[in-house]
Symmetry: C2
Subunit: 315 residues, 2 copies
């Protein structure tokens, strides 16, 4: 069970290693949305994404508790960098299993942190088999991308900062985060439950990876009917652990199409002059698609990351 103390301890643990990222606002986007949006800029976080928080919270505990002499994970991108980065902070070797289709910039970044990249086919089975092989060969400790309370508690600290900075005196009506495996969404909804219980948490999910919306409805971990989206960080399904937290603390999951995601991404690039990756644009796409639902609200949005392959932009 993740309590507010767990999240506070996670924050204290990782604070020396992370940025307290800026929260930005933009008048043009507020006008377009008809709401007051507060963007928590985790694209400015270490490794360019919020995943640094969860990776650090797990790896720092592996090192402090001497649970193993190295760490491993599988990831399509940002969690890979997060574990590699965290392992370097404490001097542990890291073995990262990545689908061969992951953006080159992300593979390069992982190697840049001194980790070994093991490429595999872009399927969940191949990724899990790759990690098992690493664990047998090296004894490395697995840091799962989302099915891990320590990772969830780490991700939860982004919302803790957002609420501390802009949601205490004047509570957010809604906080939005995207959902892939559900680690960020679990952490976001737990922190909001503890710190700002009147605030709704709503998730955005790509139509082309619509598993969470099905799982949320049925109460079982479901697969997406198909996987085809530009939001490459959101292709994974929930776990039992994240589904349980999300069913308890999240109000709703809304889906958006790839054109809607790309339009929201482009709006942020052009108007806010900051770089966000497609997965990161999903919550804003939700707000712009469902204007009536969010009209006049005070809304927090976790901007999750800015690691794009500049050679492969959708514009």
């Amino acid at each position: 069970m993740i309590s507010f103390d767990t999240i506070r301890e996670a924050h204290d643990r990782i604070r020396p290693h992370i940025h307290r990222t800026a929260v930005l606002t933009n008048q043009t986007i507020n006008d377009r949305a008809g709401a007051d949006l507060f963007f928590k800029c985790e694209n400015f976080q270490k490794i360019g994404a919020f995943k640094a928080r969860g990776g650090l919270n797990a790896v720092l505990q592996v090192a402090a508790n001497q649970e193993g002499h190295s760490v491993t994970t599988h990831s399509s991108g940002n969690h890979a960098q997060a574990v590699a980065f965290a392992a370097r902070q404490v001097g542990l070797p890291a073995y990262i299993v990545m689908p061969r289709t992951a953006p080159q910039v992300k593979k390069d970044a992982v190697r840049g942190y001194g980790a070994e990249v093991i490429e595999c086919e872009p399927t969940l089975d191949a990724r899990e088999a790759g990690v098992r092989a690493v664990m047998e060969r090296t004894g490395a400790v697995l840091v799962h991308p989302f099915d891990d309370d320590r990772v969830i508690a780490g991700q939860a600290t982004a919302t803790k900062e957002l609420i501390e900075d802009f949601g205490m005196d004047n509570a957010f009506d809604t906080i939005l985060a995207p959902v892939g495996g559900g680690g960020l969404l679990s952490g976001t909804s737990l922190t909001t439950h503890f710190m700002s219980p009147s605030t709704r948490v709503i998730a955005g999910e790509p139509e082309g990876a619509a598993d969470a919306v099905l799982s949320f409805r049925s109460g079982q971990v479901e697969k997406a009917p198909y996987i085809n989206t530009i939001a490459d960080g959101l292709m994974t399904s929930l776990s039992e652990r994240t589904l349980r937290i999300i069913r308890e603390h999240v109000t709703e999951i809304l889906t958006v199409s790839d054109p809607e995601i790309i339009a929201a991404m482009r709006l942020v690039w052009e108007r806010m002059k900051i770089i966000i990756e497609p997965s990161c644009a999903v919550p804003l796409a939700v707000v712009l698609k469902h204007k009536n639902q969010f009209a006049g609200q005070r809304i927090g949005i976790i901007l999750t990351g800015g690691n794009v392959d500049l050679g492969k932009l959708p514009f």
Copy 2:
């Protein structure tokens, strides 16, 4: 003559209309440069560029002194938006002469501020003729992009904020700005002279618009031997006014090639996760090209703007 009082008054005048923009640092880029770089993020400024400062300082005075009932200018981009934006703040019509080759996103933005765009051939002669025609037709007051003390005093306020925030207790060794017509560079060097006289001011100029470096040497306003650069904001030549200030207060002008500009731009996009336009990357390109000259220094860099046409990226 622009005194420090002129710059302080400009700052007080425009303050209600502008952002006090963030100053960002980046460890990876510091490591790459071997120096401590402080980036003044005018890409986050109103209209996406520092030009909002100079445009406002001029247009607010035109309105306050009732010098005319409308304003005009010619500009390849950001100054056009600046005058249009400033005119809207005070309710004056604005007529903006723009070369037909200017990025579509900039023409759209000017029209978005309610100004009338008059397209012309992409030559200085055609631009000046276009403005003369507007003035005859409408009686509009010209707000020149750089050959105007009020514009220069407005641009000078960016460096005032940078030095106030990070250059008082611990003076910058160098402040860098790009040079086109020299309005920003004049303002930067005047502010630095008044506030931090031990700080050198160095300008960066594209090899493909190398007029300022010639003028700086000869003491005459020279033309570039050829114009061919991605830095579309830096194609103009100095005026007598800006050359005089620059010769007095600038230490050196260094040139960089387009590949060096693009590499610096890409580094900022990938590492800082912020959007800057090619002209804006010139000073960082200078620092990375001349590492020995800047090694170990504390350096301020004016990031001038972030208005890029996402459909025409050089990556």
